[in-house]
């Protein structure tokens, strides 16, 4: 672990130096394994956040309070510490940058992490494939990557963002706090007849609901790729 930066009170990005690390594809994850002094091991999957092929491997980890791995990664691990990573793995939840189809990204909470790797990959490659991100998050102050997304919304041509704040909204926000719904997806997403590639990532319940909304709007199931974190949405995959 080379460095770390705080994203929100509950999430931290770890910058890792991994010998002989191959470039990942945007959307892939790694398995992180911690081993205690007594030999006990715990393993979890975390999405890669960083731009493929550049610099350090970055993971953004959200703390699950009763988790075995994430509290260590968010609160305890320090630069200089070492742990095992396996990957990059997972070829399914991956954006193919040769696919010219428009892209719809739907994030619930820390489900933004692999989608951010796609946004960063698009930008780094200078591609103009139109991207739309619909991001469900509790409130502006705990929104992972809020500042970078604000900047990219201004600077990355062809990237559009919409937020569904579920608890607290910014002053003057026109949509009241509430879950992602069909109206917002219709307004901020792509119509199915444009054939978009859809990527949905977040807690299991969120992903189920969002994928069903997309199916209701006639997106074919084989154009909706999903990745579920489990009930509370801390890790990835």
């Amino acid at each position: 672990m080379a460095a770390a930066r705080t994203e929100t009170p509950a999430a931290r990005t770890l910058e890792l130096d991994v010998p002989d690390w191959p470039a990942h594809r945007p959307g892939q994850h790694v398995d992180v394994r911690l081993t205690a002094e007594d030999g006990y091991t715990a393993q979890r999957s975390y999405s890669v956040a960083s731009t493929p092929g550049t610099g350090r491997l970055e993971l953004t980890v959200q703390r699950i309070d009763d988790g075995e791995v994430s509290p260590y990664l968010v609160d305890v691990a320090q630069p200089g510490d070492a742990f095992e990573v396996r990957g990059p793995v997972g070829g399914y939840f991956v954006w193919d940058d040769a696919d010219p189809a428009p892209v719809l990204l739907v994030a619930g909470g820390s489900g933004i992490v692999p989608l951010m790797s796609m946004i960063r990959a698009r930008s780094a490659a200078g591609l103009r494939v139109p991207f739309r991100l619909v991001y469900s998050t509790r409130s502006p102050d705990i929104t992972i990557y809020a500042d970078e997304l604000r900047r990219r919304q201004r600077d990355d041509r062809g990237l559009d963002l919409a937020y569904a704040y579920t608890r607290g909204v910014p002053p003057g926000w026109r949509r009241p706090p509430g879950r992602l719904d069909g109206a917002l997806l219709r307004e901020a997403g792509w119509p199915a007849d444009l054939g978009p590639a859809c990527f949905v990532c977040g807690p299991t319940g969120f992903v189920e609901a969002a994928a069903n909304l997309l199916v209701d709007q006639d997106h074919p199931a084989d154009r909706i790729k999903t990745e579920r974190f489990g009930p509370s949405g801390g890790g990835a995959a």
């Binding site: 790694v30 793995v89 399914y92 939840f93 489990g230 995959a237």
Partner: protein
């Protein structure tokens, strides 16, 4: 292994259903065994015949290993347990696995069934 926490539709009931993720979680464990990424393959359930990407199965990971179940009928498709010096892999629930291969012609980029 109880099925009682799943409804007919496969939706978790209220109460305390076991947490589940999806087949993307299998990628690391299966990469130790197979030369191709099995999570991108289409798997056919031996119970109900449903064909779906392995990545879209339901995976229960709070056990000594990983258990993947069919979204359609909740039958066990795959079990994988990693020990210190061996892997146990149970594929009885999977009648067939279709893997898209590059350059073999015929298959669409999205794989069979797309």
């Amino acid at each position: 292994m109880t099925e009682s926490w799943l409804t007919q539709s496969g939706a978790p009931q209220s109460g305390a259903p076991p947490s589940w993720v999806d087949g993307n979680e299998l990628a690391g464990a299966l990469a130790e065994v197979f030369a191709v990424d099995v999570t991108t393959a289409q798997g056919v359930c031996a119970g109900c015949g449903r064909m779906a990407p392995v990545a879209e199965t339901r995976v229960f990971d709070r056990a000594p290993g990983l258990v993947a179940r069919c979204v359609g009928c909740s039958a066990v498709l795959l079990r994988v347990v990693r020990g210190p010096d061996r892997i146990w892999l149970d594929l009885r629930g999977m009648a067939c696995v279709q893997i898209a291969m590059p350059g073999t012609g015929g298959a669409s980029p999205d794989g069979p069934g797309a």
